[in-house]
Each structure stands twice: as C-alpha cells, then as structure tokens.
C-alpha cells in the first residue's frame, strides 16, 4: 500500500475518484495528462492494494475508492508498522 501511494499520478487518480464517486478508465484518463493504458495500470496497482474497487456495468468497468476509510487506515498502519519496526530494530541493536 505504501508503494501504491508513493506515486503522484496514482494519488491524483485516487483524488479524482474521491471527487467523482466512480468512473470508468476513459473518464479518468481524459482528466489527466497520461494515456488510458497507463491509467489502467495505475488502477490495477490501487486495486491490488485494496484502495480501489472495480465493478462491472455491462461491458464497462467502473472504478471507485474503497469507501471504508477504516479499512484503508488499518491497511496503511499495517504497512507503517512493518517499516517502523525495521527502524526500531536498527535503533535497538545500535544502542546495545
């Protein structure tokens, strides 16, 4: 998830989705200076990190932000603790 958010374009995609509610790939690409395949790729990463959900409407895929902010926060802190404990380990062993 940290990686998913570590890219400015992906964060912009998320912001667009938060503003619009839900949108297909094409609409997101139109609002951004990047190609449609690139947007598709970013959406896949975001979906894999649990930040975005995808539903099928007929032949179209509609993307939306994962509405449960609690789940997002929990997921983020899960990654946060991984990083924090690595730093803790280095600090504890360095001071031993």
């Amino acid at each position: 998830m940290l990686d998913a958010l570590g890219d400015a374009t992906r964060r912009r995609v998320l912001e667009l989705l938060r503003e619009s509610g839900s949108a297909p790939v094409g609409a997101i690409a139109e609002a951004m200076p990047v190609s449609r395949p690139a947007v598709s790729q970013h959406l896949k990463v975001l979906e894999g990190a649990g930040l975005v959900t995808c539903t099928k409407r007929g032949t179209r895929h509609l993307y939306a932000v994962q509405p449960d902010g609690l789940a997002v926060l929990r997921l983020w802190l899960d990654g946060f603790w991984d990083e924090a404990l690595i730093r803790f380990k280095a600090a504890a062993e360095g001071s031993a």
């Binding site: 449960d68 926060l73 929990r74």
Partner: protein, 150 residues
Amino acid sequence: MSETMTVAPVVKSVHVRCGVANAFEVFTRGIGSWWPLDELALTPGEVKEVVWEEREGGEVYEISNSGERSHWATVLEWDPPAGFTIAWKVDPDAVAATEVEVRFTPEGDGTQVVLEHRHWDRLGERAAETRNGYDGGWEMVLGRYVDKVG
C-alpha cells in the same frame, strides 16, 4: 456491551539482538531515535521530544520546537521490561482510541518483540453513525503522502 472483533488486529513481531530491558527502553523512552517524526507526528518535522509518563494512566505526548504539547496516547498498562499497552488515537480527529500492546520476551541471543494494534472496531462503531464511515482514514493516508511527495 459486547465488543465485536470483525476487524482483525494488526500483529507484528521482530527479533532484535539486544537484551529485553534495552529493547523496552529504546521502544519507549528512545522512540525519537526510530519513529518517523518527520512524517507521523502532530507537528511533523517540528518535534523536539516525545515524552512518556511511565505509569498507568500516564500520557505520551510530543513537544514541538516551539513548546507546543500534543497528546499521542494514554498508558493503560506499564510493566517494564515485559511490555506495555497504550490507548492511541491514530489521528487527532479519530472518534475513539485504538489499543497498541507491545511485549518483550527473551529469545535466543536477543529479544522477541510482539506488537498488537487492535480495537479498530471502536472507530468503526462510532463512525457508522456518519455517512462516510471513518473518512478520517482517507484524509490521513492521503494527506501524509501529499505532504511528502506531492
């Protein structure tokens, strides 16, 4: 009142090559040496010190360079060097506190540290009254990255 546990706790463990007492001390009193204070603090990049009142009911707080004091957590259980439990509001707008319990156990040539971050449901239960659920989660996660990279 029953407390449901539909949101699983975050459980992490790490083995450190030092004694239990040292590990406990670095985790608590020495938190400034490893916590990402430039990113996750109430005055990011401006934190002078993180203070632990080392007793049950004590407070954990940061002091900024300008002397401003900001609450991090309340100590629920203090049992050095075996462990501690704190009630942590992960962001100042959170409707309720989550709990973080950390245990330090001798193992092999060092210490096994096990961290459990739990009671996410407390946030969820209260937040269910509002339309968007715990929207603060999004604000915090995105806000941090906008500050950092944006």
